[in-house]
Structures are given as structure tokens and as C-alpha cells.
């Protein structure tokens, strides 16, 4: 360095400096445009829902006047209050059960020497990765009173399935199989991030290992448990698929099925809009409360901690007993339902009195592939997931860099805007877009194609994609784009050539999650679907609501295989992990 002689200064004349580039649109103007467009699509659709609930006639009919009638008929309908009560009961049972199982599993599988922890964890997490409907179909095939597993137990053993699935406790049990791993993930993250020195300190002061676990780490888990409880409760309030499949036929209405029924069968759109407003306020109220308690971004950070330094508690002989208990739970809640889907899909008839091996068949798949409704559904969903997922990934990336890397005045609202759709019940999202398209697109062109459903699914998945994308963006130092700016790059050029190039892997991960979510989403499509635009999730839901034949199981297997292949590829290539 200092010992080499310096060479003479550059002999070539410097490149001519040019004046400021002429731009088509100033950076600030483009930010305002995108911001306005994002708010219009994300927040705008909620306006017509509220308007429809306060208007006497359907908005697209013209005429009508402002009225409280819709709310009046809602609150005077006994069916509505039964549905509200049922929903609260269902949510409470599901929350209590999931917290119990989730927290117990988190402690047992991360902090103790229970044998087979890795395998048990994997099985516990399977339901999160799978499309929600698949598991429900499996439960229905196996554990309903006439189901394969229930009847088999009754015939061949002294055991019986103690809970009737066609009841609120039964539905809560099914919901637990998905909610428990969510609780598990949230609590495990906290458990792994607790500094082991805290427990060590208790140990040095004379506390035994069990006592230090219970007096130090479990109290530290309380915020995570509150967080998980509010999340599970809020999501239980809006779930549609489960009560539609298990509750509807037994005339057990939850809020979601009440709204669905009155929309599809009675066409009482004002009433349903009023109910949707209620649901929106209840669910977003709970989630806002949760954000206040835990902080907004907490939900959207990866819940994988570093497993180093975790103290393992020796349980002695009890560990075998506890492992058996967890394994039994997983057998009943995960393995048997999954086996049910596979058995139902590959047999012509599923009955405990006939050996499944004797009735093995591919007929169900042939039936699926021969029916244009099903093949259209699969193709449409793949299109929405592929094209829609890719476009949504780009939109998320662009909005994120404006929100986090620019000096745009309203950048904070963009972040909120991307997280906000997560607070909207899926049914309300669907209805919001239904009304928006009805008002703004009288020709029905958007709804006739896949764009309508695609946009609704995309808005619904914004928060998920953003949560996968944001940590990577935050990890890129601001100096890198500042260096590009001072080198002469406009803001957009700096984003395009530096920041977005560096976060490309995170965009890939975001795409994988969006693909899976949009492939399997169903609820928002309830209000948007037409005969020309069936989508996989909703087709399965509607089919499952009427029968549990092999066809719906075969569809479920197809859905499951696509999901697992995409997630597996994502995990191998991009390190995608399941998210709570």
C-alpha cells in the first residue's frame, strides 16, 4: 500500500457530466400514485360493505335509502344470537384446548428429554403446512360417528370416540389440530429465546431444575400465551370451512355459516353486510388488542429460535409416559385423519367391515380428472397461485421498499396497509370485493375472469408475503442504497439494481408462501365465484359440505401433494419454514 509508488493521476478526461436526467414521473409522484392505488385496493373495499349494511336496497340495484333496518333485523333475529353464542363457545373451547396442548408440547418438546422429540415435532407441525380442508375431510372420514375409525374402535375394541364431531365441542376438537401447532410455534420461539442464564441463576440459588423451569421460564412465556390465545380466538370467530362441513348439516350455525347461509340461500345482502360489519369489528378489535399487547411485528417474525444453549430437563422414567401421551394425541389428531384422506381417496368404499385393501381403486382420481368442474378448479387455482402469487410478490416488494427505504411522507401507512388485511375476516374480504366490483365494474368484466378472485386472494395474503419478505429487507444496510444514490442512481434505479437484487431470495420465499396460500384459499371466493371461475378451495368446500365421498378426498390428496411439493422445494431451495 504505502510502500508502492503512486501512479500518476488518470490521464483520460472524465466522462462528461450531464444535467439531471429527465424523468417521466418524479419519484415522489410515483410514490403517491402507488400509495393511493394500494390503499384503494386494500382499504377501499371495506367502504361498500359498510355502505351496503346501511342501505335499504342492494347497492348495484340503484335506488334505496340509508337505513338501520339491516342492523335492526340482525339484532332481532334469534338465529343470529344463537350463531354468535355458538361462535364464542367454539372459539373459547378451541382456544383453551389449543393453549393446553400447544404450551405442553412446547415445553415437553423443547425443554425436556422426551424421546422422539424431532419426530413428534414434525408430526405436530404437519397441519400448519397442509391445506386446512384436507385435515377436516380426514376427520370427517375417520372420526364422525359413522366414520371409519370410530366404527372400527366400536366393533373391535371396548373404546369409543367420546366426542360427537357434529357438535360444537367436536368442531373445536378438529380446530385444535391446526390451532395447537400455532400456539406451539409461538411459545417455542419464546422458550428458545429465553436466556438460559436466567434459569442457571435460579439453579445457583438453590432451585431444582423443575422448579426453575416453572418459576422462571413459564412466567416469561405469559406474553406468548396471551398472544397465541387472542390470535386463536380471533381466527376461530371467522372460520368458515369447518362449521360448514361439520356443523351445517346438524343445524349448528356459527357466525360465518349464518352469513354464508343468508347470502347463498336467502340473498339477504343487507343483513349479511350488517353481520359482516359486526364480525369485522369483533375480529379486528381482538387483533388490535393483541397488537397492543404484543407489538405489531411480533407475529410476523420467524418463530424459529437458535436451539443452542437450551437446558434439557431430565424427566426420568416419566419421559416415556409423556412421549406416549403426545404420540397418542398426534395419532388421533393428525395421523388418523391424514390416513383417512388417503384411504378415502384410494378406495371405492371406506368401511370398517370391508378391508380397504380389497377395494383399492384409482376411480376417484379418474372421476376428478373427468369432471370439467374439478379440472377447471385445479387449473384456475394453479393460475391464481402461480401468476397471482408472482404478481403479489412483486407488489409486496415494491410497497415494502417504499415503506421502508424511501422518504415518502406516508410510508408508515403502507406498512400498516399491508398488515391490515390479516385483521379482516376472510368472508368480509370476499364480500368487500364483491360489493366493490358490483359498484365499480358494472360490466362484470373483472368478476367474469379470474382477476376478481385473484385480487381478493392477493389482498388476503399480503401480510403473509410481507412477513416473509420484511426481515430480509430490514437486514440490508441503508448504506447500500445510499451508496447507489450518491453514485448517481435515482431512487427507483437504486431499488431495482441494489435492494431488490439483494432480497431476491426472500422474494422467492415470499412467493412460495403466497403460492400455497392462494392455491388453498377458499373463503373470500364464496361471494366472488361464478360458474366460469371455480377455484379448488371453494369447490372442495362446497363438495365436502354435502358429502364426504372419495372424490373430495381425491381432490384433497391432489391439493396436499401440490402444497407439499411446493413447500418442500421452497424449503430445500430457499429455507422456507411454516409460519404461525
Amino acid at each position: 500500500m504505502s510502500d508502492t509508488r503512486l501512479r500518476p493521476p488518470p490521464a483520460v478526461a472524465p466522462p462528461p457530466t450531464r444535467g439531471p436526467r429527465r424523468r417521466l414521473l418524479s419519484t415522489t409522484a410515483s410514490h403517491y400514485l402507488l400509495w393511493a392505488a394500494a390503499l384503494l385496493v386494500v382499504v377501499g373495499p371495506i367502504v361498500p360493505v359498510v355502505a351496503a349494511s346501511l342501505w335499504s336496497a342492494p347497492l348495484y340495484d340503484g335506488g334505496g335509502h340509508p337505513t338501520w333496518d339491516n342492523f335492526h333485523s340482525l339484532v332481532t333475529d334469534r338465529g343470529w344470537w344463537t350463531a354468535v353464542l355458538n361462535s364464542v363457545l367454539f372459539a373459547a373451547l378451541n382456544t383453551a384446548g389449543s393453549i393446553l396442548v400447544g404450551v405442553a408440547c412446547a415445553v415437553l418438546l423443547t425443554r425436556t428429554d422426551v424421546p422422539g422429540r424431532r419426530v413428534l415435532t414434525t408430526f405436530l407441525l404437519i397441519p400448519i403446512a397442509l391445506p386446512g380442508l384436507v385435515l377436516i375431510i380426514g376427520w370427517a372420514a375417520m372420526w364422525t360417528p359413522a366414520g371409519f375409525a370410530s366404527s372400527w374402535l366400536e366393533t373391535n375394541t371396548f373404546l369409543v370416540m367420546p366426542v360427537n364431531l357434529y357438535s360444537i365441542p367436536g368442531m373445536a376438537m378438529v380446530a385444535m389440530s391446526v390451532a395447537s401447532p400455532t400456539v406451539f410455534l409461538l411459545c417455542r420461539g419464546t422458550l428458545l429465546s429465553i436466556d438460559p442464564a436466567l434459569e442457571d441463576a435460579a439453579r445457583t440459588l438453590g432451585a431444582g431444575p423443575l422448579r426453575s423451569l416453572f418459576s422462571i421460564s413459564l412466567p416469561l412465556l405469559r406474553p406468548a400465551i396471551t398472544n397465541a390465545a387472542l390470535l386463536v380466538f380471533a381466527l376461530s370467530m371467522e372460520v368458515l370451512g369447518l362449521p360448514l362441513i361439520l356443523g351445517f348439516s346438524s343445524r349448528i350455525n356459527l357466525i360465518s355459516t349464518y352469513l354464508y347461509d343468508h347470502w347463498v340461500n336467502d340473498a339477504e345482502q343487507g343483513l349479511v353486510s350488517a353481520g359482516a360489519v359486526f364480525l369485522l369489528i369483533a375480529v379486528s378489535g381482538l387483533l388490535v388488542l393483541r397488537n397492543r399487547l404484543v407489538g405489531d411485528v411480533a407475529r410476523f417474525t420467524t418463530t424459529t429460535g437458535k436451539p443452542t444453549g437450551v437446558r434439557i430437563l431430565q424427566l426420568g422414567r416419566a419421559r416415556w409416559l409423556l412421549a406416549a401421551a403426545v404420540a397418542l394425541f398426534l395419532l388421533v389428531f393428525v395421523v388418523v385423519p391424514l390416513a383417512g384422506v388417503l384411504l378415502a381417496a384410494f378406495t371405492s368404499i371406506l368401511s370398517p367391515f370391508i378391508s380397504p385393501w380389497s377395494v383399492l381403486t384409482l376411480d376417484n382420481f379418474t372421476a376428478v380428472l373427468d369432471n370439467p368442474l374439478y379440472t377447471d378448479s385445479i387449473i384456475n387455482s394453479l393460475l391464481i397461485a402461480g401468476v397471482g402469487g408472482a404478481l403479489t410478490t412483486i407488489v409486496i416488494a415494491v410497497l415494502s421498499v417504499i415503506a421502508h427505504r424511501s422518504r415518502f411522507r406516508f410510508r408508515g401507512s403502507l406498512q400498516q396497509g399491508m398488515l391490515w388485511p390479516r385483521m379482516m375476516p376472510a368472508l368480509v374480504t370476499g364480500m368487500a370485493f364483491f360489493w366493490s366490483f358490483a359498484l365499480l365494474d358494472r360490466s362484470g368484466a373483472i368478476r367474469a375472469g379470474l382477476w376478481g378472485i385473484g385480487i381478493a386472494f392477493a389482498v388476503r395474503s399480503l401480510a403473509l408475503g410481507y412477513s416473509a419478505f420484511y426481515p430480509a429487507l430490514a437486514g440490508i444496510g441503508a448504506d447500500l442504497d445510499n451508496a447507489a444514490r450518491t453514485s448517481g442512481a435515482t431512487w427507483w434505479t437504486a431499488m431495482r439494481t441494489i435492494v431488490l437484487r439483494l432480497v431476491a431470495p426472500a422474494m422467492g420465499a415470499s412467493f412460495v408462501l403466497l403460492f400455497v396460500a392462494m392455491l388453498n384459499d377458499a373463503e373470500p371466493a364464496v361471494f366472488l365465484v361464478t360458474d366460469e371461475t371455480p377455484v379448488l378451495g371453494l369447490t372442495m368446500l362446497q363438495l365436502a359440505a354435502t358429502s364426504f365421498g372419495g372424490t373430495v378426498a381425491a381432490l384433497g390428496v391432489i391439493q396436499m401433494v401440490i402444497t407439499l411439493v411446493v413447500l418442500g422445494a421452497g424449503r430445500a431451495l430457499l429455507g422456507v419454514r411454516p409460519r404461525a
Partner: protein, 371 residues
């Protein structure tokens, strides 16, 4: 190369004022250093020059070109034509060394052949000619720093801005890089603004230094002026080590002053331009305290002081002794060790600076003379 003019720059962050009415002139082709403790506003000043921060008011001009004027004019960073070396270097990891350096030229749509030539030239200049095709992670810290420098010089810039570029290098390499960069700068002749909190770096690297604290400039001057004639207590204390002793000015005529230093019997006759009398502080550098050794002659003169040694430390190239003058702890340094439990010292009036006591030394001094 243009000179740089900052006039009345003010920047307020949500609670505190980062810059108070800051005015500076950086001469064409010089290395001008902003020196101060963290949070003094030096980086805010640098980013305001680069266009990455927007001051609340004031104006910034590169020569005749006004790049910021009270928010009415605010040239975007990409149009200011600065070369910036970031503390983190900010080398783009997805681009090779040549692509990093060629990026500013590419943006200026320099034809490919000329671009390649210029990239090669600049890389030669920073002695990285053989590394053009490597990627940043294959380079050492020192090499990365030079890539950042090459990139900053490529277009070439009107103004070179350096944000603590040496802070990520180890001590040896830092010293060499400094000498090397100084030589290179004088060769290229680009007007350079350099930010650091390291006084050694500021003194050895700069043509002129501005010492900043709490958003104000306390003194601007050559390294020697700053060190030998600090304008106020803050500068005296922040640049180098200063022993601050309570004192009283008993007479002053505008050229010299008689000052009675606590703990020293005879008043000292010190060069001083102020006429104010009364309580003051005097500062004296540890290396300027004269140590009298046994056999030095003359015995006990009235200005000498014999004090017990309270602590001693060996620092490789010098020895440091802790003593007290009056009640004040004082550090004395020397290259030759002194044995024994006592130290006989004297102060040379020419090395003493007097500061009227106004407030605590870290408060800004609004009367600080600007050279």
C-alpha cells in the same frame, strides 16, 4: 474542483437540535475534517452535503452551484455528483469489484469501452488492478475500503465525502491507509470532507479541522492550531489530553496575563490575548509538563514543585505518571522513566493556555474564535 460552502445549516430531530446554524467553507482541493464526539452532528453535516439528509434551513453550495437552499432548492443525492465512502464501505455484494466501480459510470451512460478503461484506471490507482473480477466477500477489509474509494472516485466526483472510512481497519492498517489515502488525495486533488471522532486521525490526515460538539463548530483550524491553540476548554479537552487546573487571572494587558494557578506558589506570566480578570482554567498538555531529574542542576527554584507520584503506567513509547497539583489530578508523560516516589516538575508559561470559566467545558462556547 469546486469549494464547498455551508451557510446557516440547521437541522432539528424530533427532540434535539442536531445542527445549530452551522457555517463552514471548505477550500478547493483540501482535506477538511469534521471532528467531534458521537452525536455532535458531524455525520448529519456530511449527509446534508451528500443530499441524504435534508436540513431544515440554510444553504449548501458546491462552488457556484447551489445544491440546497432553505428547501427551495434541494438537489437529489444522485444529481450532486459526490463520491462517498461509507463507514461500512457499502460495497454491493452481488456485483464484482469492476461492476461496483463501473456502476456510477454506467448510470452516466458512459460508453462501454471508455467505462472499462476508466474502471481499470481507477482500480490501478487504488492498487486493485488484479482484483477486478473478484467479489467483495473475497477481499480483505483494507481491499474493500479501497474498492469503496475507487467507486467514489470513478465518475469522477466534484466532492469526496469520507465517513470514518478507517474505523473498521486494525490499528496498523489504519495508519498505512491514512498515509496512502492522503497521498492519493493530493494527487487527485479532489475537495474532501472527512468525518471522524478519532483525534489522531483528524490531526494526521487533514489540511484543516473543524471541531464540533452538540451541533456547533467550536474551532476551525489547521491540526497544529487546533492542538496548540485550542479556542476553548472543549477543544483543549477533546483534542489530545489536557490537564485543566483552576486558576485566577490577576492581571492582563491583551498580550500577556499574570495567572495564579492553584497549587503553584508563584504567579505565571502567560501569553494571552484576553483582558478579562478573575476565575479561569488553565490547560497544559501532559507532555509539556517539565520533569526535573536528579542532577539537573539548580536545586529548588521557586517555580518548581515536588509532588508524590500517585500512579504510574508504562505505555510502550512513553511513561505516564499521575500526580496532583493543588487538589487536581494531573497526568505527566515522558519518554524516559523516572524512579522514586516523588516527581519534581515545573510548568513553562509558553505552553499554558488560559480559558475564562463560563460554564462546564462541554457546553458550547459562542465566542469561540474561528481561524
Amino acid at each position: 474542483m469546486p469549494s464547498l460552502h455551508l451557510d446557516g445549516i440547521t437541522k432539528q430531530f424530533s427532540r434535539h437540535t442536531a445542527l445549530h446554524d452551522l457555517s463552514l467553507t471548505v477550500r478547493d482541493g483540501e482535506i477538511f475534517t469534521l471532528l467531534g464526539p458521537s452525536g455532535c452532528g458531524k455525520s448529519t453535516t456530511l449527509w446534508s452535503i451528500a443530499g441524504l439528509h435534508r436540513p431544515d434551513s440554510g444553504s449548501i453550495a458546491f462552488g457556484d452551484r447551489v445544491v440546497f437552499d432553505h428547501g427551495r432548492v434541494n438537489v437529489e443525492p444522485e444529481d450532486r455528483n459526490c463520491g462517498v465512502v461509507f463507514q461500512s464501505y457499502a460495497i454491493w455484494p452481488h456485483m464484482s469489484v469492476a461492476e461496483n466501480v463501473g456502476y456510477p459510470l454506467k448510470l452516466r451512460r458512459t460508453p462501454a469501452a471508455r467505462r472499462d478503461r476508466r474502471v481499470r484506471e481507477v482500480l490501478e490507482l487504488v492498487e486493485l488492478g488484479d482484483h477486478a473480477l473478484k467479489y467483495p466477500h473475497q477481499l480483505s477489509g483494507g481491499q474493500q475500503q479501497r474498492v469503496a474509494l475507487a467507486r467514489a472516485l470513478a465518475h469522477p466526483p466534484d466532492m469526496l465525502l469520507l465517513d470514518e472510512p478507517f474505523s473498521n481497519l486494525d490499528a496498523k492498517l489504519r495508519d498505512r491507509s491514512r498515509q496512502w489515502l492522503k497521498a492519493l488525495q493530493s494527487q487527485v486533488g479532489v475537495t474532501t470532507v472527512f468525518v471522524t471522532h478519532d483525534q489522531d486521525e483528524a490531526l494526521s490526515f487533514s489540511d484543516r479541522v473543524a471541531v464540533m460538539n452538540r451541533g456547533r463548530v467550536h474551532q476551525v483550524g489547521t491540526p497544529e492550531e487546533i492542538y496548540r491553540y485550542p479556542a476553548d476548554l472543549f477543544v483543549a479537552d477533546f483534542v489530545g489530553t489536557a490537564n485543566l487546573l483552576p486558576a485566577e487571572v490577576v492581571a492582563a494587558d491583551g498580550t500577556r496575563a499574570r495567572v495564579r494557578v492553584e497549587g503553584i506558589g508563584t504567579p505565571l506570566d502567560v501569553p494571552h490575548t484576553d483582558k478579562r480578570l478573575g476565575t479561569a482554567k488553565v490547560s497544559v498538555r501532559p507532555e509539556n509538563i517539565h520533569i526535573h531529574r536528579a542532577g539537573d542542576g539548580t536545586g529548588t527554584a521557586p517555580d518548581r514543585l515536588t509532588v508524590p507520584v500517585e500512579g504510574r503506567a508504562y505505555l510502550g513509547d512513553h511513561h505516564r505518571y499521575s500526580i496532583r497539583i493543588g487538589g487536581t489530578p494531573v497526568a505527566v508523560t515522558t519518554t524516559r522513566p523516572v524512579d522514586g516516589a516523588e516527581l519534581t516538575i515545573s510548568l513553562s508559561p509558553e505552553d499554558i493556555r488560559i480559558f475564562p470559566v463560563e460554564s462546564d467545558p462541554y457546553e458550547e462556547n459562542p465566542h469561540a474564535p474561528v481561524h
